[in-house]
Structures are given as structure tokens and as C-alpha cells.
């Protein structure tokens, strides 16, 4: 297994080089000269040249590309154009509110979806199964924006049950601020999660080993929890772990609506102020996270299913 992990880690290199290349092409080649935007209309040619020098835009393209690659390993992303802060510092600061919102919401949403799908699989073909399926497909068809707008308006503004916006650092002070966005997060995840988990569980339920288990006289509940769930675990792990990188950004819209100063907020602010280095940093960071987590998924497979031999 150690061998496998090392080999997988080596495979990360071409992928990281590729990701860096896409980001380099987008931000260094296609985007054009940012100095005019940064300095405004009254910039002199000398000022622009100085700034170009300062931003490293005069370097040969290959060096610029290696700068992108280097930042993927060192997490040293330089300084923001808009706030002049160090970007890695901004990201560390923004991570706290984001994680306060997305981690509990993600955990609850996953567990809840799993429970619902197991119940639905138990009563497959009955009324409750049909009802949940209809709710899921209708639920995923409504725009996320509409959910957020409506819930914020109704529960925070009209009824005043929750804070409308803002954030407070420290436990438990942040709870009133993240409670409503977390609830919306969970509701938004339920639809796709339950749909996926139900499919995976039903895939297993018609297998021969389930029939054998039934023939042995095991109760349906034991079969579901001990046999079916265990076998359905691999696709479930993949689905769950792969979502984690988008978690930092997944709450992007929620953070925007509820003015939570997290990573989503940082990204959107950067978007509005054409702060390229910040967007670039977020793109690199989330990709690195994705790549590492996909490795973790593979390793988790061996725990979920001992038959999986990593070679």
C-alpha cells in the first residue's frame, strides 16, 4: 500500500503541472495586461512599466509558469491587488468562518441523507419512496438562489428567528449567524445526496448475496445496515469525499447572501474588484485539495472493502 501511495503521489505531479498550466494560460496569457486596470485612467507609461516589473509580468513566460507551479507547492500566492494583504493570510482568515458554516452542515447533510435513503430503500416501491423521489427531483430543480432568498426573507427578515447577516468569531457566538445558512445548505444537499445514495443502495439490494442473507433468515434491517450499506460504501465514499474541495466554495452563494466573511466572500469580492491573484490562489488551492482528497478516497476504499488491493 505504501508503494501504491507513493506512485499515486507521483501521479499528482503531471496533474498538478496540468492544473498549473490551465491556470497559467488563463491568468497569464489570456487575461492580458492588468496594469492599465490597476492604475486607472491616468497611469503613465513609466508607472505601468514599473508595476509590470513589480508583478513579475516582465519575466519570461516559462518563469511565470514555474511561479504558478511553485505556488501550488508552497502556498505562497503573493499579495492581493485590491487589499494589498498577503493572500495566504487572507485565506487562513477566511477559512474559519467558512468552515464554521460548511463542516457541520456537510456532516449533518450527509448523515441525514444516508438515513433517509436507507429508510426509502427499506420501503422501496411504497408510497414514502415515491414521495421522497418526487421531493428530491422537484427539490433539485428549484434554483439554489430561490431557496436562499426565500428562507432569508421569511425566517430571518419576516419572523426574525435568525440573524439576517454578519458573523461573530468564537464558539458559540457564531451559531446564530450560521444556523440559517447551514439549514439551507442541508436542504440543498438533501435532494442530490438522497437521489444518489438511493440509487447506489438499490443497486446492491437486488444482488445475490442479499437473497442469501434473506434465506438465512436475517431481518431486513440487519441486511440493510450490515450487508447492503457495507457494499454500497465505495461509491458513497467517492461521492462524499470528492465534495469536500467544493465545500470551501460550495457555500459561496450562502456566504454572499448572509455576508459571512469566509472564502466564498473573499472569492466574490476578488471577482468584483478584478483581483486576479486571489482568484488564481483559490483556484490552485481548491485543485490541490481535490487532488489530495481523491488520493484519500482510494486509500479509504481499502478500509471499506478489503478485496480492493491497491497496486
Amino acid at each position: 500500500m505504501i508503494k501504491y501511495i507513493i506512485r499515486r503521489l507521483l501521479y499528482l505531479i503531471p496533474v498538478l503541472l496540468g492544473v498549473s498550466f490551465i491556470i497559467f494560460v488563463l491568468f497569464n496569457l489570456v487575461s492580458g495586461d492588468p496594469t492599465a486596470v490597476l492604475l486607472g485612467k491616468n497611469a503613465t507609461a513609466k508607472q505601468m512599466a514599473e508595476l509590470r516589473e513589480q508583478l513579475g509580468l516582465n519575466k519570461p513566460l516559462l518563469d511565470q509558469y514555474f511561479d504558478v507551479v511553485k505556488s501550488a507547492f508552497t502556498f505562497n500566492f503573493g499579495y492581493s491587488w485590491a487589499t494589498k494583504q498577503e493572500i495566504s493570510h487572507m485565506i487562513l482568515q477566511g477559512a474559519y468562518p467558512s468552515l464554521c458554516l460548511s463542516v457541520p452542515a456537510f456532516v449533518i447533510a450527509t448523515i441525514l441523507s444516508l438515513i433517509i435513503s436507507l429508510v426509502v430503500a427499506f420501503y422501496r416501491g411504497k408510497g414514502i419512496d415515491l414521495f421522497v423521489r418526487i421531493m428530491c427531483i422537484a427539490g433539485v430543480s428549484v434554483s439554489a438562489l430561490a431557496y436562499i432568498l426565500f428562507f432569508q426573507y421569511f425566517f430571518a427578515y419576516k419572523l426574525g428567528w435568525f440573524e439576517i447577516s454578519g458573523f461573530e468569531y468564537g464558539f458559540p457566538d457564531f451559531i446564530p449567524f450560521v444556523a440559517l445558512p447551514a439549514i439551507i445548505f442541508i436542504l440543498l444537499s438533501l435532494g442530490p445526496d438522497v437521489r444518489f445514495f438511493r440509487t447506489v443502495i438499490l443497486d446492491e439490494i437486488y444482488q445475490d448475496y442479499v437473497r442469501t442473507a434473506r434465506a438465512k433468515g436475517l431481518s431486513e434491517v440487519v441486511i440493510l445496515l450490515k450487508h447492503v450499506l457495507r457494499n454500497a460504501l465505495i461509491p458513497i465514499i467517492t461521492y462524499v469525499v470528492i465534495q469536500i474541495p467544493s465545500l470551501i466554495l460550495g457555500a459561496l452563494l450562502l456566504e454572499n447572501f448572509f455576508s459571512i466573511p469566509g472564502l466564498g466572500g473573499i472569492t466574490l469580492n476578488a471577482l468584483n474588484s478584478s483581483d486576479f491573484p486571489v482568484i488564481k490562489a483559490m483556484a490552485i488551492l481548491s485543485s490541490v485539495l481535490y487532488i489530495l482528497l481523491s488520493l484519500l478516497t482510494d486509500v479509504l476504499y481499502t478500509f471499506a472493502d478489503p478485496r480492493v488491493k491497491l497496486k
Binding site: 488563463l26 430543480s141 434554483s143 438562489l145 426573507y153 438499490l202 467544493s246 471577482l271 482568484i279 488564481k280
Partner: protein
């Protein structure tokens, strides 16, 4: 004897399912609206001031008017054109790339497969929303950037599916037979294998449309999408400020319009899978 082709059978199975038939009709209606709006036959005068500001829905203006006194229904119809065009153009970008790369990777294997696998692993390693934001930001706001961004992100799924399916098919007897009577790689791959995997393209396109529409709405809401024209996303953005003043009709109009078409594509995608790929029925 009456001919019963695969496609005819599938179509018959599809329209027997009344949910699928309903979805198909909704999709056709939306497509017609989009086409008519694109030609300027309907909703061509959406920008005209037709009444007082923020009028509630009434007999004359079914969905009321917006803050500038423009007819909300016209804006919804115009937004339909934007949404459907995004679905169409991204599919037109994603399908050729996804099918060709997926087919080549699955058929030839070896270094071709390694290269293409590396390419889509790389693309899928950048979280979708980040890639969408980056591309639209760099190319400048506007519908063109949305087309490119969504096209660049959505070929990956199709490529992966086609690759897997072609791999399964390439060792089958009918392909060997085609080789035995002298068919070359090109002939085997494009004339024999590809027609057998087209169902994946069709199913995927239906789901692709709803993904594209949902993404367009979010990108437009973020101010990255279409400029100077109504989109469901910008209408929802407007509603954000209007809701506390009791102006709900823009939100309701845009959300309902989007809900129906996304629901239809979702149901249609499932129904297409059931009818074209009966092995998967009920899953």
C-alpha cells in the same frame, strides 16, 4: 413485416410514460419560445416601458412590471432564450470534444488513453465553480464567456462515460467481425462502435441542459453572465432587493420558469435512460 428499430422502440417506450411525454412537451414548448424570442417574434419589446413601476400581476401584465415599468413576462420569455441558448451551445461544444476524445481513449488505449485520461483528470481537478468563475472573469463578462466556460467544463463527464463504454464494446464480436472483413480502425470506431454508444450522448445531453441552465442563472446572478439583457439570474438578483418591499413577481416568474424546464430535463433524462438503456431500468 413492420420494422422495429431500436430508436423506434425506445421512442415508443418513452411516450408511453406520461411523465416523460409531459417533459418532452415542456422542453419543446421552451425550445419554441426560445426560437421565437431569438427571431424577435415574441418579447422583442421587453425593454419598453409599458406601465407604472412595480405593478402587481394584473390582466394586462400577467406577471406585473419591474422597477422600470417593463413587462416581467416578456423578460421571462427573453430569459428563456438566453437559458436555452446556453444549454444548446454548451452541448454543441461539449459533445464533439467529449465523444471524440472519449472514443479515441477507449478504443486505442495505451499512451492515447493515458494522455486523454490525464487531460480530463486535470480539468476535473479544478472545482467547477472555480473554473467557471476564472474563465468568465478572464474572458470578460458576457454570454460568450459563459458559453466557453460551461463548454470547457462539461465535456469531461461525457468523455469519461464514452471512454468506458467504447472500452466495453471494442472487444465484442461485431467489432471483430468488422475487422475480419477488412474494416480499419476508423471504420470500426466511427461506423460500428459509435452508433452503439450514442444513447449515452442523448441521456447526457438532457442532464447537460439542466446543468447549463442552472449554472447560467448562478453566473448571471453573480454579474458574470449576459449583460444588458434579462436573464433569470439577473431577475433573481433584482428580486433580492425588491422582496422586502413585497415585490415578489419577478422572483416567482424567473424561478417558476427555471423550475419547470430543469424539472422537465431531469425527468426526461431519467426516462431516456430507462427507454434507451433498459438494463438500467428502475435504477
Amino acid at each position: 413485416m413492420k420494422e422495429n428499430s431500436l430508436w423506434k422502440d425506445a421512442f415508443r417506450r418513452l411516450i408511453k410514460d406520461k411523465w416523460a411525454l409531459g417533459s418532452l412537451i415542456i422542453v419543446l414548448v421552451y425550445s419554441t419560445v426560445a426560437l421565437l424570442a431569438a427571431l424577435g417574434i415574441i418579447a422583442g419589446d421587453w425593454a419598453k416601458e409599458v406601465g407604472a413601476s412595480n405593478m402587481a400581476p394584473n390582466v394586462e401584465h400577467w406577471l406585473g412590471t419591474d422597477i422600470f415599468g417593463r413587462d416581467v413576462l416578456s423578460k421571462v420569455l427573453r430569459g428563456t432564450q438566453i437559458a436555452m441558448s446556453v444549454g444548446l451551445v454548451t452541448s454543441l461544444i461539449a459533445i464533439p470534444i467529449g465523444v471524440v476524445l472519449g472514443a479515441l481513449a477507449g478504443y486505442f488505449g495505451g499512451w492515447v488513453d493515458d494522455l486523454i485520461t490525464w487531460l480530463y483528470t486535470t480539468f476535473s481537478s479544478i472545482p467547477n465553480i472555480m473554473l467557471l468563475i476564472s474563465i468568465t472573469m478572464i474572458l470578460g463578462k458576457g454570454i460568450f464567456a459563459v458559453y466557453i466556460a460551461l463548454g470547457a467544463t462539461s465535456w469531461v463527464t461525457l468523455c469519461r462515460l464514452i471512454r468506458g463504454e467504447v472500452m466495453k464494446h471494442k472487444e465484442r464480436e461485431y467489432v471483430q467481425a468488422a475487422g475480419a472483413i477488412g474494416g480499419g480502425h476508423f471504420r470500426k470506431l466511427f461506423l460500428h462502435i459509435l452508433p452503439n454508444v450514442t444513447h449515452i450522448v442523448i441521456i447526457n445531453t438532457s442532464l447537460q441542459f439542466q446543468f447549463a441552465i442552472k449554472s447560467e442563472v448562478i453566473l448571471s446572478y453573480l454579474g458574470l453572465g449576459v449583460q444588458g439583457e434579462p436573464s433569470w439570474g439577473t431577475m433573481i438578483d433584482d428580486a433580492k432587493l425588491e422582496l422586502s418591499r413585497g415585490v415578489w413577481w419577478q422572483l416567482a416568474g424567473a424561478t417558476t420558469a427555471m423550475f419547470l424546464v430543469v424539472l422537465a430535463f431531469n425527468l426526461l433524462g431519467d426516462a431516456l435512460r430507462d427507454s434507451l438503456d433498459p438494463k438500467l431500468k428502475g435504477k
